[in-house]
């Protein structure tokens, strides 16, 4: 920034603004940022869809094996995450496989 000697004037500048209001001086930088934003939104959507499937389907499996309550954090013992995971793998592997597959929407439980 130039030193203001008392005669400073405003200058019209061309900038590039992205969807979230961030400003860039070059189009390429703005485009790269915008693409990253879109990718982040897609990833967030995938994550949220997977999370929803994981929670809903794990709750429906609690009647098969109470350990599935741990998946949604909905159990009331301190710790016990290891033993819950072990039980899901050792006692009901078929259901656990279906649950994990359902996260990607491959198969409904």
């Amino acid at each position: 920034m130039a030193e203001n000697d008392g005669n400073g004037k405003i200058e019209k500048v061309g900038l590039w603004e992205t969807d979230d209001g961030t400003l860039f001086t070059t189009q390429s930088a703005a485009t790269a940022y915008e693409e990253a934003l879109i990718n982040d939104r897609k990833q967030a959507q995938i994550f949220n869809d997977g999370k929803k499937a994981m929670l809903v389907n794990s709750k429906s499996l609690v009647s098969v094996n109470p350990s599935y309550a741990a998946v949604s954090g909905d159990f009331f013992e301190r710790g016990g995450v290891y033993s819950s995971l072990e039980s899901m793998i050792v006692d009901t592997p078929e259901e656990t496989k279906k649950l994990i597959q359902s996260i990607n929407g491959r198969r409904k439980i």
Partner: protein
């Protein structure tokens, strides 16, 4: 006094029974124990691998898990992290690793055969025969039973049993054992890891 011939049913641990149903029940209990041990060992092996994970964050997470240091309110984030990964770093998504482990457990009949080692195989009530896996070659065994010679080949994926006339039996895996059917004859194939060899 003349000796007399008797029939007994032998479980894979060599216990003898006079009643077939009792023998089967006992064998089923042996199979259940064997299956549970196999599953637990597979799970523990998986966790051990995670403890050595190259991703420091994951390794720490599994260390806390093993120490039972993950509280219940951290339970959901744990599963989110290992089954979903994170938005920024999807390499942490361990769905494929878990699915591989579960496939190994669910297809345990295949995994038993995949395991390196020495196995005792038996066809029907025939004598047990020792089979050793040789590199990637299938286990192979020929044995006489009921006046016929059968050849059994076991490889990753299943069994193939043929009789001396070259007929191939149709095999089905039920309750931890293979049932192999030839035209009019049904054989049950059992196996177990040979202990102490």
């Amino acid at each position: 006094m003349a000796v007399k011939q008797v029939t007994r049913y032998e479980a894979t641990d060599c216990t003898l029974f006079t009643d077939e149903r009792a023998a089967q029940k006992y064998q089923d209990s042996l199979n259940t124990v064997g299956r549970d041990v196999f599953r637990k060992e597979t799970f523990e092996k998986f966790i051990t691998t995670q403890l050595d994970n190259k991703d420091e964050g994951l390794a720490k997470l599994y260390k806390r898990l093993v120490k039972d240091d993950l509280t219940f309110d951290e339970s959901q984030p744990f599963f989110e992290r290992v089954w979903l990964g994170t938005i920024k770093d999807t390499k942490l998504n361990q769905q494929p690793d878990y699915l591989n482990m579960l496939n190994e457990i669910i297809d345990e009949e295949e995994s038993h055969i995949k395991a390196d080692g020495v196995y005792d195989f038996a066809i029907g009530l025939g004598a047990k025969a020792l089979m050793t896996r040789s590199k990637e070659q299938p286990y192979s065994l020929s044995t006489g039973y009921d006046g016929e010679t059968y050849t059994l080949q076991a490889s990753p994926g299943g069994f193939r049993m043929t009789n001396s006339k070259g007929a191939i039996g149709t095999s089905t895996f039920i309750n931890n054992r293979w049932t192999v059917v030839f035209k009019e004859v049904t054989h049950v194939v059992t196996w177990q890891a040979a202990m102490g060899r």
